[in-house]
Amino acid sequence: MTMLLELHDVSKQYGNNTIALSDVNFSVREGEFVSVIGPSGAGKSTLLRCINRMIDASNGEIVFDGVNALGLKRKELRNLRTKIGIIFQHYNLVDRLSVIENILHGRLGYKSAITGALGIYSREEKEQALKLLNILGLEDQVYKRSDQLSGGQKQRVGIARALIQNPKMLLCDEPIASLDPNASKVIMDYLKDISKSMGITVLINLHQVDVALKYSDRIIGVSKGSVVYDGSPRHITKEEIHHIYGSEAGDLIMDLGEDTDYAG
C-alpha cells in the first residue's frame, strides 16, 4: 500500500522558546485509521493543523499525496485543503444556517469566489449533500437550523461537511470530547465505517485511550511535542501508556480506561 502522508522531522516553535513539536516523524498508509493520543498540551492539535497548514510548521517536510505541503503557493494550498477534511471538537458550524447549507460549505474550496460567496451550488452537489445526510441518519433535519441540533447531530453534520469535499483524508480534532458516551460511540462507529467503506484515511486526536485502542489500526503517542509511541494498539503495554501520559496520571487512565467510558 502506498503512503498517503509522510512527516519528516517536522518541528513547530512558537516565539523563541516554546516548542510545540520537535522532530516528528511518521507516515500514514492509505485507508489507515490512526489515533493520536497524549496529554493536553502535548501538541496533538498543532500536529493535526500542521498537516493542512492551518498552522505553518517551522521545519521539516510534510508530504501529502506526493506533494510537499510546506512549499505550496496560495492556490495549490487551497487545492490541498479540499483533499483534507477536518472535524472539530466544537463542530464549528454556522449556527444560523440550515443543516444542508452547512454541509454545502464543504464545497466552497472547489468554487469560484463569487459562486461560493453567493452560495450557488450545482444540482450534483446538492444531491451529494442529501445522500450524505441519508448515510449519516440526518434525513429529517435537512432544513433545520444547525443550532437546534443536539451535539451528536451537529458532529454528524460536521462529518458530512468534511465528506462532501471528497477528501482523501479526514483529520479529527477530539471529535467526541464534548459528547456523551452514546453519541461518542455513534460518531466513532460512523468514522470507522467511513474509513472502511470509502477507503478514507483517518487521523484522529483522542483523549479517551480505551476508545483509541478499540477503533484504531495504529496508535501514535505524543508527549511534549515528540512521538514517543508508534505502533499497533494490540501490542501497547501499560508501561508505554504511562510513558505517554507521564507516570503520575498513568494509573488513573488505565483503571478508568478498562471498564468505563469517560469524557474529556
Partner: protein, 285 residues
C-alpha cells in the same frame, strides 16, 4: 493596600466566629474610591443648588410656570403656519434624511468594518481603520455638519455628508466588534476546507452576525432621526426640525411647537415598534 491584605488573609472560619456582621463585599481601594467620588458629587450638587443665582424667580413659581407652558404646548396644540399634511411631509423629509445617511453609512461601514475586524484582517489595517474611526466619532455629528458646511454651504448637502460621516464612524465600530465576536472555529473550519476570504465573509461571518448588524443599523437610524430633527434647526437642512426652529424662535408659538413635538414623538414610537418587530423576526428565522 493594607486594607486589602488584611481582608484576604482572613480564613472563612475566622469570619464566621466573630460577632460582627459578615461583609459580602470587602472594603478595598476600588470601593473606597467609588464611594468618595459619589460623596463628593452629592456635596457639590448641594453646594450648587444653595449658591445658584436665582434672580427673582422663585423655585415654586418657576416650576408652576413651566408646567403651565407644557400644558399649553400639549393640550392646546394647533396648526397655524402649516396644515396636517404639510407637517407630515416635513416629517418624511426628516425621516428621508435619517434613512439616507444610515443607508450610505451602513454600506460603507459593512466593507470597512470587515477590514477593521481583527479576526478577518491584519492587525495593522485593523488598527489603522479603528484609530481613524475613533477620531471621527470623537467629533460630534453637528460639528461634522458644520465642517462640511464650509465647502457645501449650510443646508441639506452638508447635513447628509456630515451625518453619514459620523454614522460611518459609529457603525464601523459596532460592526467590526460584532464580527470579532464570531467564533474563531467557524472561520477555521471554512478556511480548512479551502474556502477563500470572500466566501468565508458571505457564507459564515455575515449570516452569523446579521441580527447584530440589523439592530446596530436600526439603532443608528433612530439616532440619525433625532440628529436630523436637530440638523433641520441648526444647519437649515429642512424637515420638521426647521419648522420647530421657526415656530419657537420666530413665531414664539408654543402651541405649534407642541404639534411638532407630537409628530416627532409618534414617529419615534413607530420606529421603535418596527425595530422590535424586525429583531423578533430575525431571531426566529
Amino acid at each position: 493596600m493594607s486594607v486589602e491584605n488584611t481582608v484576604t488573609t482572613k480564613t472563612s472560619s475566622e469570619l464566621v466566629n466573630r460577632d460582627k456582621p459578615i461583609k459580602v463585599k470587602p472594603l478595598n481601594k476600588v470601593t473606597i474610591v467609588i464611594r468618595l467620588t459619589l460623596l463628593s458629587l452629592v456635596l457639590l450638587s448641594i453646594y450648587g443648588f444653595l449658591t445658584f443665582d436665582y434672580k427673582d424667580v422663585g423655585l415654586i413659581e418657576g416650576i408652576a410656570a413651566s408646567i403651565a407652558n407644557f400644558r399649553v404646548m400639549f393640550t392646546e396644540a394647533h396648526f397655524s403656519h402649516f396644515n396636517f399634511l404639510e407637517g407630515l411631509h416635513q416629517v418624511f423629509i426628516t425621516i428621508g434624511l435619517a434613512l439616507l445617511t444610515t443607508l450610505i453609512g451602513a454600506i460603507i461601514s459593512l466593507f470597512l468594518g470587515l477590514f477593521a475586524a481583527q479576526n478577518l484582517s491584519t492587525v495593522r489595517v485593523s488598527n489603522m481603520i479603528k484609530s481613524f474611526v475613533a477620531f471621527i466619532r470623537a467629533v460630534p455629528t453637528v460639528l461634522w455638519v458644520l465642517i462640511f458646511a464650509v465647502s457645501a454651504g449650510l443646508g441639506s448637502v452638508a447635513a447628509v455628508i456630515g451625518m453619514t460621516f459620523h454614522s460611518v464612524g459609529y457603525l464601523i465600530k459596532a460592526y467590526s466588534e460584532s464580527f470579532e465576536e464570531l467564533d474563531e472555529g467557524v472561520i477555521e473550519a471554512l478556511r480548512a476546507s479551502g474556502a477563500n476570504w470572500w466566501q468565508i465573509v458571505w457564507q459564515a461571518v455575515i449570516p452569523s452576525t446579521i441580527t447584530y448588524l440589523v439592530s446596530w443599523s436600526f439603532l443608528r437610524f433612530e439616532i440619525n432621526f433625532g440628529v436630523a430633527v436637530a440638523m433641520g434647526a441648526a444647519a437649515g437642512a429642512g424637515g420638521i426640525g426647521y419648522d420647530m426652529f421657526m415656530a419657537s424662535t420666530f413665531y414664539l408659538d408654543l402651541r405649534e411647537v407642541g404639534t411638532i413635538t407630537f409628530y416627532i414623538l409618534i414617529f419615534a414610537i413607530l420606529l421603535e415598534v418596527v425595530a422590535i418587530r424586525i429583531k423578533r423576526h430575525l431571531k426566529t428565522v
